[in-house]
Symmetry: C2
Subunit: 202 residues, 2 copies
């Protein structure tokens, strides 16, 4: 299937049937991608990081781990993960209130708006914005619980493969953050690309 | 104001005007209390642990910390906290799907149902259940990100005071969990009590 480039700072939604997967490549290595999944039959069922943490007993998802829904159903598996670092499940996506907090002018792109726009463009709706999985986002946790904000340690070409364990809509946002170094020390959002891997007919 | 006893396994909602506070006492020391707050003018604004973690730069709230909403507004302050341990902001509340996972019969009480019932009884509605602050819940985090499930280290009479920084509805659920030792090694939900502290007129 065709490759889709997601421009830096923009979002994209892709429906997956159970068994299909999406491969997401960090072209330049430094781009954080906020990632959501919602059940296509009922978007009030969504990938829940607070349920996933409980079910995998870890703050950080790793290769082979499963992402659970808010009904504790298996939603996606992290089938492949080539990056040396971690992915974050602790921080809310960036939103207009965060950019206000940083003193930015109104109208700054946000992952929250990207989520909603991509969802609506795909024909779905939502009453609220779940806490995303922030792929490649480097949020180190200290023994006293302090959480840092660091540039990614991922490398150009690092990739993840997310396999659908139910019919889902996956939404990506190549995070537009340009205030903190979360997308690299040069604070520049960059494109990533995605490829849908359709399950071979058996 | 009168003291309200919340029976073990049950919920209670209390409206607070800005400046008012609620004092919650862990009568027997071993009871986890799942805690939510919603803006009274618009319950789509709610206490968000994923925003709070980002704003206080810590996994665990401590005395003096502020709980932020999903619009990054100051919602509640943890004005007093006498317990030696931590409070959890990592785990979803217990729900029917967790008790199914543990093999319990249908109809087990849950914090999720307690939240919804208390909210409805107070005349409010909600489209979804936010991740709560789990007062006194002991979820230790290891250097590798592993999260444990341990009995509380709080003591009989330990208390918190939550001060409203906007007009809010606070919802408590004295967690009905009796499968894991999260409410103490004897796995027995017990009552707690709450007292509203109305701000003195100036």
């Amino acid at each position: 299937m065709a490759i889709t480039e997601i421009p830096g700072g923009h979002g994209w939604a892709v429906p997956l049937a159970v068994g299909d997967a999406v491969r997401l490549v960090n072209t330049f290595g430094s781009q954080v991608v906020d990632t959501w999944a919602l059940a296509r039959h009922d978007t009030s069922e969504y990938l829940s990081v607070e349920h996933t943490r409980r079910m995998i007993a870890n703050l950080f998802p790793g290769q082979g781990d499963i992402f659970y829904s808010n009904r504790r159903s298996k939603m996606l598996s992290l089938e492949k993960d080539t990056a040396p670092g971690r992915h974050d499940m602790l921080f809310a996506c960036c939103d207009k209130w965060l950019y206000q907090h940083y003193g930015c002018a109104p109208g700054h792109r946000t992952c929250r708006d990207n989520f909603l726009q991509a969802l609506f463009a795909a024909g779905f709706d939502a009453n609220f914005v779940p806490n995303p999985v922030n792929l490649w986002m480097n949020i180190p946790v200290s023994a006293d619980g302090h959480v840092g904000i660091e540039p990614p340690v991922s490398r150009p070409g690092d990739e993840v493969v997310l396999r659908a364990l139910m019919d889902v809509l996956v939404v990506f946002s190549a995070c537009p953050m340009d205030v903190t170094p979360i997308n690299g020390p040069d604070r520049t959002p960059r494109p990533v690309y995605a490829e849908v891997l359709v399950q071979a007919a058996s």
